[in-house]
Symmetry: C2
Subunit: 151 residues, 2 copies
């Protein structure tokens, strides 16, 4: 099975880390769908989260990566979409839990809060860890797809 294409987007706070992670993805044989931004000019993170949501919603990629300064803005924006489970992680443990328990399909990183080697670690764990599935985790993930419930 050849590696699946991975969509990636950032704002100006994640531009440099995006370039690094693109190299990592390419080295692992993934096609990379780079949705910008493409330089250090100040841009709005919701626009780039939206571009990634559209790419995944359209079936261009199954998984994605989002980066802003802290990852907080990107994680708020991406999780507005019921078909995305965007996990803001900061080390290998949280990356592993994001996949094993939450079946995250979007990895969110802070370009200004973690260093390059930690980010590479998070990426590798995100790509290589399977969802545990099973009763309780699958039930919770299924509930996520039905939020927001009318309140």
């Amino acid at each position: 099975m050849s590696p699946d294409p991975i969509a990636i987007a950032s704002d100006h706070g994640g531009f440099e880390l995006k370039a690094l992670l693109k190299e990592e993805l390419a080295a692992r044989g993934h096609a990379v769908i780079d949705l910008g931004s493409n330089d250090r000019d100040s841009v709005d993170y919701p626009d780039y989260a939206q571009a990634l949501a559209q790419a995944i919603g359209a079936g261009k990629a199954r998984r994605g990566i989002l980066i802003c300064g802290t990852g907080i803005g990107m994680s708020i924006a991406a999780n507005r979409h019921p078909f995305l489970r965007a996990a803001l992680v900061h080390d290998a443990f949280t990356a592993r839990m994001a996949r094993a328990h939450n079946d995250a399909n979007v990895l969110v990183l802070g370009g200004r809060t973690i260093g390059p080697e930690i980010a590479k670690d998070c990426l590798a764990v995100f790509l290589d860890t399977a969802f545990e599935g099973g009763g309780r985790h699958a039930r919770r993930v299924e509930k996520l797809s039905r939020l927001p419930a009318s309140s």
Copy 2:
């Protein structure tokens, strides 16, 4: 101005930290709206995020706190709601950015990923830091309220 009421909820992975943060909130004079869970029995984090969204949506509190094992599941669930900006943070810096740049109204913490003193630090910074406002941050936050855009 008397402190505003704060809503708080957790799953079993955040039960102990919730108890600690309730003490902190009470010591600062906040009324606490505790939405459970109330023991260590395994429960589904989306149900508790939904309870908090309903409390804030109904105007019972302006701000809230969510805790699960890593905070990841809670942050996915809470951000399904366009009127919530739920920030998963892990230290004082990320807590400060969550308020200053993202105007977060929900603090999300990992009960199994950060220790009690770090969590207290995050809470204090979350409560005490104002949104910077200004052109670009306000524009981005406004965009968050309009997601998901039709894609």
